[in-house]
């Protein structure tokens, strides 16, 4: 291996990227676009959920309860219904997601037996939103219930004794405000790395075939190893640049906390890039058409990174066989490391298992990639 040949190869490849608008678009514009789109678009924070109310009592108490729904940032009362049919229509048409029904004997029961029940009908088509909406509705009614207890009086007008045996004091660690953005953005970096790295490298060798420059390349004294290093070096740098961009953008634009160290992020990103670039290169060598290579590249890198890495969908909720498969998905380790670095501030030792797994992966892929390119024209 001669450094000068690797350098020549790297310069050629850099110029090729620089002069190809399509590659440039993927390398530079794609990260920005994905960051904005996913950063803003992938939100699970539920606010101002449309609510329809059916107040069958229309008393002071029932109005007070509904006011609490209106006052909550999570709900927005959009409609008052007069019967169950209206509620069904609103839910069917998606006008509201939650319908609160107050029974006609709401206050009466509260005064007599002390227990009253309010009904919440929720559109469970979107199960996650439904789950969260029910949680918030429980909290609103719970608050009303506590206040009703505090202000309740007995028959002679004396205040009742307040009984609330258990009080839940909850504390959230690592993401105190439960912003879904803080949990999505670190994973988006992995997605962008996979997208840019695999797309650019999967074209690198197939392009030589399609443009007929493979003959030229084979006739030069460059060795297969030199081809690999020379071709991948520019993409490695582009990948690191994109990672740096994502980090800066995530922290300063989206206000995601970064509690780890940049050097650990650098180590993890480098390992991940070696795997991604190696896979892209392997595909590129094996599949001689650019479109075919790009498509296969998409299927092997992007799909597992998007679905099986835990970047949005939690791995521990998947069925056990699928969980087992995720151990083979290299992106899983990178996403875990990213989330820990951003939110938990984990050090390099805490992340040793993830880094070692990626290193092992990188070694295997690099070995395969180094043997893939053969200097012949078949």
């Amino acid at each position: 291996m001669k450094l000068v040949r690797i350098k020549a190869m790297a310069i050629k490849e850099t110029l090729q990227v620089w002069r190809d608008p399509f590659s440039l678009l993927i390398a530079l514009l794609m990260p920005l676009m994905q960051m904005l789109l996913l950063g803003y678009g992938l939100s699970l924070d539920i606010k101002h959920l449309p609510v329809c109310v059916y107040d069958r009592e229309a008393s002071q108490d029932s109005q007070a309860l509904l006011k609490r729904f209106q006052a909550s940032v999570y709900f927005n009362i959009v409609e008052g219904a007069d019967n169950y049919r209206d509620i069904a229509t609103s839910l069917d048409r998606g006008i509201c997601v939650l319908a609160v029904v107050i029974p006609p004997d709401f206050t009466e029961r509260l005064n007599d037996s002390g227990v009253s029940t309010v009904q919440a009908i929720v559109d469970a088509t979107d199960t996650n939103t439904a789950n969260i909406a029910m949680g918030y509705a429980q909290a609103v009614v719970g608050g009303f219930s506590t206040d009703a207890q505090i202000s309740a009086t007995d028959a002679r007008g004396r205040p009742l004794q307040f009984i609330q045996p258990v009080d839940v004091e909850s504390r959230v660690w690592f993401n105190e405000t439960l912003e879904s953005r803080d949990f999505i953005i670190p994973g988006v970096i992995a997605l962008i790395m996979a997208l840019v790295g695999a797309q650019l490298t999967s074209l690198t060798v197939s392009r030589e075939w399609e443009r007929g420059t493979m003959e030229l390349l084979v006739s030069t004294p460059v060795s297969p190893m030199e081809v690999m290093f020379g071709k991948l070096a520019p993409y490695f740098l582009i990948g690191l640049l994109d990672a740096a961009f994502c980090l800066v953008f995530g922290v300063f634009w989206f206000d995601v906390p970064f509690r780890g160290t940049v050097s650990t992020l650098f180590v993890a990103t480098s390992l991940f890039l070696v795997v991604i670039l190696g896979i892209g290169y392997l595909i590129s060598v094996k599949i001689k058409s650019q479109v075919g290579a790009a498509q296969i590249g998409l299927l092997v890198t992007l799909l597992p990174t998007a679905l099986l890495s835990g970047y949005t969908f939690p791995i521990d909720q998947m069925p056990p066989p699928v969980q087992a498969i995720t151990y083979l998905v290299f992106a899983r380790y990178y996403v875990t490391a990213l989330k820990a670095l951003f939110l938990k501030g984990s050090g390099i030792l805490d992340l040793a298992p993830q880094l070692l797994a990626m290193a092992a992966y990188a070694a295997v892929i690099a070995f395969l990639a180094s043997r893939a390119f053969r200097k012949n024209l078949d």
Partner: protein, 377 residues
């Protein structure tokens, strides 16, 4: 005229038949994606790994904690004896929830006073954390209410104590068991159809231009609109077959019910396919090479997928993005496909979305045909 269109249609099908790669792409990746999505896409919260620290060690504290081990929402993976162990378990992600009962818990309870119950949640995954917190509150609240009722019944809560509570009875409609697959599987059908039909249409036309056969077609007596019809009809039929394949496979494999009217779903699918075909032709007029057409995946289809409400509710997006979603045909189709599968609603509920798709389809097809004709001149 029909004869010439028919010939183009036959030509397209022969091309499809001889293109092994295209046939593979039409069948294998969609089914694989359906499986992966169906199994992986879930926001459900079950068996949350939980660590408990009981420093009171009384009947009351054990009773409260045992309620957490009896639900399938939580799985107690560790019993800690110090605060440091709790911190360690959460730092290392061994547990996502920690339940801590301090000494004196039962004393306070027996005196009729309020006792704190400490809960620590790992917020790294904000969604899981939020839902898990909801369940903690529900279980602890139930225990609290039961205990209050018990105190009053035994006359231990003081002379004028009476628990006053307002309960919330929640009733999830359309999907009573809150099965996430019912939400995701129909969504996957729509998303896959968009990706496949658009990229297939675009790449077929671009390939013809790249290979140079488009010029041959132009010198034949065929008229531009006949050519466009002849080229789109096959993809329309392929798209319909694709929806049928993925929908049947997904619903049978994942046991998702179909409550609605198949004719309404068919109507929505036809309208949706108009938009996807228009989009495919439009992309083919902008892109010069198959490579560029493929890149449109990232710049057009990916945003459409993200903005469709497939997994992330549109109502949670910033207002500007919400406006953009009205230009996304998949947004409407997901409402229709979920409406027919899960809600079983009819045209009276779905007409706005049908209208939206019809307008978008007409617009996209119109612009794309104009551009396509221009590119032929």
């Amino acid at each position: 005229m029909f004869d010439r269109i028919w010939r183009i249609v036959i030509k397209e099908f022969i091309e499809l038949k001889r293109d092994k790669w295209a046939r593979f792409r039409l069948i294998v990746p969609p089914l694989v994606q359906m499986l992966v999505f169906g199994y992986a896409a879930t926001f459900e919260v079950y068996h949350v790994s939980t660590v408990v620290l009981d420093r009171d060690q009384t009947q009351e504290s054990r009773e409260l904690l045992s309620r957490f081990s009896f639900t399938d929402r939580f799985t107690i993976v560790e019993t800690a004896s110090t605060d440091a162990q709790i911190a360690h378990a959460i730092d290392r992600s061994d547990a996502a929830v920690a339940l801590v009962i301090h000494p004196g818990f039962s004393n306070l309870l027996r005196k009729g006073q309020t006792a704190p119950f400490q809960v620590i949640v790992d917020g790294t995954n904000s969604n899981t954390a939020l839902i898990a917190l909801g369940y903690v509150n529900l279980i602890a609240g139930q225990y609290s209410a039961d205990y209050a009722a018990d105190l009053v019944r035994r006359g231990l809560a003081g002379a004028n104590a009476k628990p006053v509570t307002v309960n919330l009875e929640t009733r999830p409609w359309y999907n009573p068991d809150l099965n996430g697959r019912w939400f995701f599987v129909p969504g996957v059908v729509g998303s896959l159809t968009l990706m496949l039909v658009v990229s297939l249409t675009a790449s077929a036309i671009v390939r013809e231009r790249e290979v140079g056969t488009l010029e041959q077609l132009m010198v034949s007596p065929i008229r531009p609109y006949e050519l466009i019809l002849g080229k789109t009809v096959p993809f329309f039929l392929v798209g319909l077959a694709e929806v049928a394949l993925v929908a049947v496979f997904g619903t049978v494999w994942f046991r998702v019910p179909f409550f609605g009217d198949p004719l309404i779903l068919l109507m929505g699918t036809v309208l949706f396919l108009l938009s996807t075909l228009g989009l495919g032709i439009l992309i083919s007029t902008v892109c010069k090479t198959q490579q560029q057409a493929f890149a449109s995946n990232f710049f057009v289809l990916n945003p459409m997928f993200t903005l469709s409400g497939f997994a992330f509710p549109i109502s949670s997006m910033p207002v500007i993005l919400q406006w953009l979603t009205y230009l996304d045909p998949l947004r409407y189709y997901l409402v229709v496909i979920r409406g027919t599968f899960i809600k079983g609603v009819g045209l009276d509920a779905l007409w706005p979305d049908m209208l939206g798709m019809a307008a978008l389809g007409a617009g996209l097809l119109g612009i794309s045909i104009l551009r396509f004709r221009k590119s032929l001149d």
